[in-house]
């Protein structure tokens, strides 16, 4: 993105920054007020399990709708048309997996982390270590993508083009994130996500209404104008696109079609394995509230993606592909440019601030999840064999959050300007391959045992990462991360179509080749608890 940075900036950087500053001040006040009591592990990791279903559902939407899904999907629809829309459908349908198979049973069975569910009847230490490894890997990839994306956003919205200036902003984002997590714990983080989700969805909804009003509420007319604008683009490759049908982005060859299918599989199966999504189910008092949270999340996320459909085509029609591709930030600038077109500097400032708030809320959610997993699974269970107090777990978690924050700042600065957009897709692929099979098996398959879990988790994790390292995302093409080298022997940038079935199969093979059939009494206890909530963690009384 740095290469394009000097071409055109958008709106008034001072206004953008001022509105973002206001967001930080308001959320800080809320976080400090919300975090009067963060002494126990229950309060720090789950906000005392006291959020209602609707509140948690809004926070899930806030956690899930990253800058990539706002700027990225609207931009992809504006430039590639239908293929951007395909992307958003995978992100939405995925929530049915969470609703039907995972959310309620997970809430009933676990305490703080995903590993609680797995280690209920499997061997504690190896399973926790494996689950913590996958959790930290997914969180770090996701975190890195967000932090590096912040650099591009700065170039676009604040007119900061120097490397040092962008690094400074990445550092500020990182420090703010650390403060939110340290001061606010899960409760503060949740409120940041709620505020951000409301702003983001309301902002996108407002812009959608404005676009629809401009075209007399006639969606077909927006589509027609978008196609006309694309066909009038000065670049021939863009002008030839049929943006109303699939194929503009992924239709080129059989490899790219299979690559797209692979991405679609990872998106739909990855969401219910994302650790920061799973952890949100522990912030509500009962399984029924967990169900309500997912219902709210599905409604909000679905509405939001419908908005992006209108915004994407609206940006193509009203702003035009030449201006979008010529702006700093390229495809990502479609939504901000549309805001400028519709509502001038003020609306642009608001949308820019929301985009920044989006990064902050998502990274804070990731950090608290990763630090909880380290403190609860690795430190308390594996290293100290449960001989630690809850206060100690919270302390370790806070230290982890600081370390992770500093790591994320450092890596984010290094990765700034690199093409690492594949990291989000990679995080979904790892979540789908390494986490989801084990979660589903341990909730629904009585015979499932420790070896099956370990084979599936490590097999899914390692195969996904190895395949991506040797894929065109990392080397071998002009858009690769390391464009100068070529060690890509795996043709797909998205490894999910291989690694996810492999991980599911490894879970079955590992289980059946082991004589370990587990303790039937514990398996029975887990089944009763997961379905009825008997013995489930209660909310903290207030």
């Amino acid at each position: 993105m740095n290469l394009l940075a000097a071409t055109q900036t958008v709106g008034n950087p001072v206004a953008n920054m001022a509105i973002f500053g206001l967001f930080v001040v308001v959320t800080m006040v809320v976080v400090i007020r919300a975090s009067k009591r963060n002494a126990t592990a229950d309060e720090f990791f789950t906000g005392g399990r006291a959020f209602s279903g609707p509140q948690n559902g809004i926070a899930i939407a806030g956690d899930y709708l990253s800058a990539a899904s706002f700027l990225g999907i609207a931009g992809a629809i504006a430039v590639y048309g239908y293929d951007g829309f395909l992307y958003s459908i995978g992100f939405l349908v995925a929530w049915l997996v969470a609703l039907l198979l995972v959310a309620e049973l997970l809430r009933n069975t676990g305490k703080f982390t995903m590993a609680d569910v797995l280690s209920f009847r499997l061997k504690q230490r190896p399973v926790r270590l494996a689950a913590a490894t996958t959790t930290l890997t997914v969180s770090l990839f996701y975190l890195l993508a967000q932090m590096a994306g912040a650099g591009g956003l700065v170039a676009l919205l604040m007119n900061i083009n120097s490397r040092a200036g962008q690094s400074l902003v990445i550092a500020v984002v990182g420090v703010l994130m650390i403060v939110y997590v340290l001061v606010g714990g899960m409760k503060g983080t949740t409120w940041v996500q709620i505020i951000k989700a409301v702003l983001l969805i309301a902002g996108a909804g407002f812009m959608t209404v404005m676009v629809l009003a401009k075209f007399g509420l006639n969606f077909s007319e927006i589509l027609g104008s978008a196609q006309t604008a694309i066909s009038g683009a000065t670049t021939e490759g863009v002008a030839n696109r049929d943006v109303l049908a699939p194929g503009a982005q992924y239709g080129g060859s059989l490899t790219s079609q299979i690559n797209f299918i692979s991405l679609a599989v990872a998106l739909v199966l990855g969401t219910a394995g994302l650790p920061h999504v799973l952890m949100r189910f522990y912030t509500v008092p009962t399984a029924k509230e967990a169900r309500r949270s997912v219902v709210w999340a599905i409604a909000l996320i679905g509405a939001f993606y419908l908005f992006t459909l209108v915004l994407g085509y609206g940006a193509a029609a009203l702003v035009g592909p030449d201006r979008i591709l010529g702006a700093a930030g390229g495809v990502n600038s479609a939504a901000p440019l549309l805001a400028l077109e519709l509502g001038g500097v003020v609306l642009l400032g608001i949308i820019s601030a929301v985009a920044f708030a989006t990064i902050l809320a998502v990274v804070a959610g990731l950090t608290i999840t990763a630090s909880a997993s380290f403190a609860h699974d690795v430190y308390a269970s594996v290293l100290k064999s449960h001989n630690v107090t809850e206060a100690e777990q919270v302390k370790v978690s806070r230290i982890t959050a600081v370390v992770l924050g500093i790591l994320a700042i450092g890596l984010g600065i290094l990765a700034n300007g690199q093409n690492i957009a594949f990291l989000v897709a990679l995080a979904f692929a790892v979540a789908a391959a390494a986490n989801l099979p084990t979660i589903v098996y341990s909730l629904y398959w009585k015979r499932f045992n420790t070896r099956g879990a370990l084979w599936s988790m490590y097999g899914g994790l390692i195969s996904t990462i190895v395949l991506i390292v040797f894929s065109p995302a990392v080397s071998g093409t002009k858009t690769s991360m390391i464009a100068s080298a070529d060690f890509a022997w795996f043709p797909l940038a998205n490894p999910g179509i291989v690694s996810i079935p492999l991980a599911f199969a490894l879970g079955i093979i590992g289980t059946l080749t082991s004589k370990d059939t587990g303790d039937p009494a514990i398996a029975a206890e887990m089944e009763v608890r997961s379905l009825t909530g008997v013995g489930a963690e209660k909310a903290v009384a207030h």
């Binding site: 459908i89 049908a245 079609q257 299979i258 009763v528 008997v534």
Partner: protein
């Protein structure tokens, strides 16, 4: 408790709803993705105005997602919650 008829009833009701429904939406999504990847001309067929088959099927994915969510919530509220609560009360005593 796990062997009791009440629990087995709850368990089989849950599974009889959740597994077929999951299979249904995954297959429906799979069909959509395959059409999106390979059947460009079919998806580009215009139905009315500039609205084509692909857009309608895509919006259909939104619709089925919302409908399945609604069906599941109704099912869980009517069929699962009372049964789970009865078992919970039996094991833990009624909530104070």
């Amino acid at each position: 408790m796990q062997a009791s008829p009440e629990f087995q009833d709850l368990r089989s009701r849950l599974r009889r709803f959740v597994f077929p429904m999951t299979a249904f939406f995954l297959i429906w999504y799979g069909i959509y993705v395959l059409l999106g990847a390979f059947a460009h001309d079919f998806m580009a067929t215009r139905l009315f105005g500039n609205v084509n088959v692909g857009l309608i099927i895509g919006l259909g994915q939104f619709l089925t997602t919302f409908v399945i969510t609604g069906l599941y919530v109704r099912f869980a509220n009517r069929e699962l919650d009372p049964r789970a609560e009865a078992i919970r009360n039996e094991l833990e005593g009624p909530l104070q």
